[in-house]
C-alpha cells in the first residue's frame, strides 16, 4: 500500500467512526427515561410552557425525525441553541471556550511527556535498582490519584500557604487591565504576539498549577512506556556496538536508543488525548478555569441538555480527528505501517 492509499482509506474509515459516535450520543441522550425537556424543568411546570419548550427544541417530533434533524444540523456545524434563557448558540459558546481548554491541554501534555520520558529513561538505565522501583511506584501512584485531589493539595500548598501562584482562574484579577487582546484565545501566545511580556508571565503563573496537576496524572503511562521501550532498545546490537565504539553515554542513550524507542510513545500521545480531555474537565473545575470542562459542568448543573449534547459531540469528534492525525503522522514516520 502506498502512503496515499493508506491516507485515503484511513480518511474513509473516519467517517463511519464519527457517524457512530454522533449516533451514540443521540441514543444516550434520548433513550434513557425522561426526555430532556421535562428533565430541564426538573420540578412541576405549566404544561403549556413545557409544550412550547418541546416545540421550540423539536422534542415533540417523532424520534427518527429528531435524529434526522440532529444529523442535518450537525452537518451544517450547528449544535443548536442553549436551553438556558439566553438561547446562545452552542457553537459560539464552544468556540469562545475552547482556546482555554486547548491551552491547558497543550501545557499539560508537554509536562506529562517531558517529565514522563525523563523519568522513563532514568528508570531504564538504572534497571532493577531502588531508583527504578521508586520511579515505577511513582508511575503507579499517579494512576491512582484523582486529579482534583492532587489539584486541591497543590492549591493548598502553593496558593493558600505559600502564595506563590494564584489558586485559580486564567488571569489574575488584579492585573485584568493587562489582559492580552484575543487573537488565538491562548493567553500565553496572545501576550507573546502582542509583545506583552508582563501578561505572559501572569498567564504562565496561572497555568503552572493546572498543567502540572494534569500532567502528573497523565505522566505515569509515559514513564512505563518509555521504560519498557528503552529496555528493549538498550539491549539491541546497534546500541551495544555504539557503546563498544566508545561513544559518550548520553549520545548512545539519546540519539541511538531513544530515537528508536520514540515511535510507540508518539502513538501513545495520540491515544492519551481522550484521557487528557477527561482529566481537563476535572482540572478545569478544580482551578475554576473557564474552558469547555467548566462549561460542561455548568451546563449539567443548569440542566441544559442541548449544551451537554453539543460538548460531548465536540469532544468525541475532536478525539477521533486527533487519532486520525496521529495515525497519519505515524504512517509518514514508520513505513512498515503502510505494508
Amino acid at each position: 500500500m502506498t502512503l496515499r492509499s493508506y491516507v485515503v482509506s484511513r480518511l474513509l474509515l473516519t467517517i463511519p467512526m464519527i457517524m457512530l459516535l454522533v449516533t451514540l450520543v443521540f441514543i444516550i441522550l434520548r433513550i434513557v427515561p425522561g426526555d430532556p425537556a421535562s428533565l430541564h424543568f426538573e420540578k412541576h411546570v405549566d404544561p403549556v410552557v413545557l409544550a412550547a419548550f418541546r416545540h421550540e427544541f423539536g422534542l415533540d417530533l417523532p424520534i427518527w425525525e429528531q435524529y434526522v434533524n440532529y444529523l442535518a444540523s450537525l452537518f451544517r456545524l450547528d449544535l443548536g441553541v442553549s436551553m438556558g434563557s439566553s438561547r446562545t448558540p452552542i457553537v459560539y459558546a464552544i468556540v469562545t471556550r475552547f482556546p482555554a481548554t486547548l491551552e491547558l491541554a497543550i501545557y499539560s501534555m508537554l509536562f506529562a511527556v517531558l517529565f514522563g520520558i525523563a523519568l522513563g529513561i532514568k528508570s531504564s538505565k538504572k534497571y532493577g535498582s531502588a531508583t527504578d522501583t521508586s520511579i515505577r511506584l511513582f508511575g503507579i501512584i499517579t494512576y491512582a490519584i484523582p486529579v482534583f485531589f492532587l489539584g486541591s493539595v497543590l492549591q493548598i500548598i502553593f496558593a493558600v500557604w505559600l502564595h506563590w501562584v494564584p489558586s485559580g482562574g486564567r488571569f489574575e484579577n488584579a492585573f485584568l487591565a493587562y489582559q492580552p487582546p484575543t487573537i488565538t484565545g491562548l493567553y500565553t501566545i496572545d501576550s507573546l504576539l502582542t509583545g506583552n511580556l508582563f501578561a505572559f508571565v501572569v498567564s504562565l503563573k496561572c497555568l503552572i498549577l493546572p498543567s502540572v496537576t494534569l500532567g502528573t496524572v497523565l505522566c505515569g503511562i509515559f514513564v512505563r512506556l518509555t521504560r519498557t521501550n528503552m529496555l528493549e532498545t538498550l539491549r539491541m546490537d546497534f546500541v551495544v556496538a555504539a557503546e563498544a565504539r566508545g561513544l559518550p553515554e548520553n549520545v548512545v542513550t539519546m540519539s541511538y536508543a531513544f530515537k528508536n524507542a520514540f515511535l510507540p510513545i508518539l502513538t501513545m500521545i495520540g491515544l492519551q488525548f481522550a484521557a487528557l480531555l477527561a482529566g481537563a474537565v476535572l482540572t478545569e473545575t478544580t482551578f475554576n478555569w473557564q474552558g469547555l470542562g467548566t462549561f460542561l459542568v455548568d451546563s449539567i448543573n443548569s440542566r441544559d441538555y442541548t449544551a451537554v449534547q453539543g460538548i460531548v459531540v465536540f469532544f468525541g469528534v475532536l478525539v477521533t480527528l486527533v487519532s486520525l492525525v496521529v495515525d497519519l503522522f505515524y504512517a509518514y514516520l514508520d513505513p512498515r505501517i503502510r505494508l
Binding site: 428533565l39 486541591s152 493539595v153 460531548v312
Partner: protein, 421 residues
C-alpha cells in the same frame, strides 16, 4: 531474582532472608513491608474494635472473625498434612478447606440471625470478610501465601494490593462499630477543628467528626465499583467471546461500536449518561459500566484471536469437538487470567470515575458519607487552609485505587507471565 520458592511464611522468610540481604530486590522489600505492615494494622484494628466499640456487637464480631479464621487455619494444616502423606489429592484438600470456611461462615450467619436479627446482615458480612482477611494473613504469616509465594516480588505486590483492598472493605463494613460518632451527625464538635486528641482527624465545616466519616465513607464507592465491574464483566467478556469466535460481520460491527465508545473521553461519556439517569448507586454504576465494557471487549477479543490459531485448538477442531466445548473448555479458561487483570484495573478506574462524577455534582444526596463527596465539599473550605478535610478523604480514595492498581500490576505478572524483562 533469587529463589523465592524456598520461602515459607513471612516470619520464617525473615530468617532465611537475613543471610542474603543483597540478593533481595528493592521491589521485593517494598511489597514485603506493605504486606507485613497491613497485616499488623488489620490485627491492631481488630484489637481496637474489641476494646473500644460502642456495643457488645464489636466484641462479638471480633470473636466471630477469629473463630472463622482459626477453624480455617486448622483445616488448612490438617489437609496439608494429609496431602503430604498422600491420603488426599491437592484439589480435594483445597475443596475441603473452602467447604470448612463456608460452613463456619454459615454457622456464624445462622447464629447472628437468631441472636441479633436487627443487624444480622451487616454483622455477617463483617465477620465473614474479617474471617477471610485474618485467614489470609495467618496463611501469609505461617505458611507463605500458597498461590503467590513462588512468583517473587510480583506476588508480594499483588498480595499487598489485595490486602489493602480487603482491609478497606472490612473497615467500611465494621465502621458503624468503631466510629466514635455517627458519621452524618452534625455539630458533634467545634467547626473545622484541626486534628486533635478528641477528634483525631479533625472536624468538617458542619462540625462532623471526620474520622467517623472517613471510616464509613467507602461504602458507596465500593458498591458502585462492584456493581459496575459485575455489569462490565458479564457483558464485555461473553460479547467479545461470541463476536470474535464466530468472526465475520457481527465481529466487525461489535468492534466498531466498541472502538467508538473506547475513543470517547471516558469520564465525559459517564458524565453525560449519569446526567440523564440522575443520581443513585445503580445509575452511577451503569454509567460507569458503559464506559468500561470496551476495555474487556478489546482484551478478550485479541486473546481469542490469538488462542483460536493455537495448535491445541486446531487439534480440538480436527477431532470434531463441538464449538461450545471449544469456547468454554479450550478458549475461555485461557483468557480468564487476562480478563481478571482487566477487572482489577477496572475497579480502580470505576473508583476514580465515581469520585469524578461526585466531584462534578452527579453524586449522591448530600448527607450520605462518601469520600468523593467529603473531598468535594472540603474544597469549599480551601481558602481557610483547612487541609484535613481534603487530605484524609482524598488519601482514602488514593489508597483504595492504589490497592486495586497494585493488585492489577502484580496479578498481571503472576497470571499472565510474559518473557522476563
Amino acid at each position: 531474582m533469587s529463589s523465592d520458592t524456598s520461602i515459607h511464611g513471612i516470619f520464617l522468610s525473615l530468617k532465611s532472608v537475613s543471610g542474603d540481604l543483597q540478593s533481595r530486590s528493592f521491589r521485593w522489600w517494598v511489597g514485603f513491608f506493605i504486606v507485613t505492615g497491613l497485616s499488623l494494622s488489620v490485627i491492631v484494628g481488630l484489637l481496637i474494635v474489641a476494646l473500644s466499640s460502642n456495643s457488645e456487637l464489636g466484641l462479638q464480631a471480633v470473636v466471630g472473625t477469629v473463630v472463622i479464621a482459626s477453624v480455617f487455619q486448622v483445616a488448612y494444616k490438617l489437609q496439608k498434612r494429609s496431602v503430604a502423606a498422600g491420603r488426599l489429592k491437592r484439589m480435594e484438600g483445597r475443596t475441603i478447606c473452602a467447604a470448612v470456611f463456608l460452613v463456619t461462615s454459615a454457622e456464624v450467619v445462622l447464629w447472628a440471625l437468631s441472636a441479633i436479627p436487627t443487624v444480622a446482615r451487616a454483622f455477617s458480612v463483617a465477620v465473614i470478610l474479617g474471617g477471610f482477611l485474618v485467614a489470609v494473613i495467618m496463611l501469609l504469616i505461617l505458611e507463605g501465601y500458597p498461590i503467590l509465594k513462588v512468583r517473587g516480588s510480583a506476588g508480594y505486590i499483588a498480595e499487598a494490593g489485595l490486602l489493602i483492598v480487603f482491609s478497606m472493605a472490612y473497615m467500611t463494613v465494621i465502621s458503624s462499630w468503631i466510629s466514635p460518632f455517627l458519621a452524618t451527625k452534625i455539630n458533634v464538635g467545634p467547626i473545622l477543628s484541626p486534628p486533635s486528641l478528641a477528634y483525631p482527624l479533625g472536624t468538617t465545616s458542619l462540625g462532623q467528626d471526620l474520622l467517623s466519616r472517613v471510616l464509613t465513607g467507602g461504602s458507596i464507592m465500593l458498591q458502585v465499583a462492584i456493581l459496575s465491574v459485575i455489569v462490565c464483566f458479564s457483558i464485555g467478556v461473553p460479547l467479545a467471546l461470541a463476536a470474535s469466535y464466530r468472526g465475520g460481520v457481527a465481529d466487525r460491527a461489535a468492534s466498531l461500536v466498541m472502538d467508538s465508545i473506547y475513543a470517547f473521553p471516558g469520564l465525559v461519556l459517564a458524565i453525560a449518561i449519569s446526567a440523564m439517569l440522575g443520581p443513585g448507586v445503580i445509575n452511577m454504576a451503569l454509567s460507569i459500566a458503559v464506559v468500561y465494557i470496551p476495555s474487556y471487549f478489546r482484551v478478550v477479543r485479541s486473546q481469542v484471536l490469538t488462542i483460536k490459531e493455537l495448535p491445541y485448538v486446531e487439534a480440538a477442531v480436527a477431532m470434531g469437538a463441538r464449538s461450545r466445548d471449544i469456547v468454554f473448555r479450550y478458549i475461555l479458561p485461557n483468557l480468564l487470567p487476562s480478563a481478571v487483570v482487566v477487572m482489577t484495573i477496572n475497579f480502580a478506574d470505576a473508583i476514580l470515575t465515581e469520585a469524578g462524577l461526585t466531584f462534578v455534582g452527579l453524586g449522591l444526596p448530600v448527607n450520605v458519607p462518601d469520600w468523593g463527596w467529603d473531598l468535594t465539599f472540603g474544597r469549599t473550605q480551601l481558602i481557610t487552609g483547612a487541609w484535613w478535610v481534603i487530605a484524609f478523604p482524598g488519601l482514602m480514595i488514593v489508597l483504595l485505587a492504589l490497592g486495586f492498581t497494585l493488585a492489577g500490576e502484580g496479578l498481571n505478572e503472576v497470571l499472565t507471565p510474559k518473557l522476563k524483562e
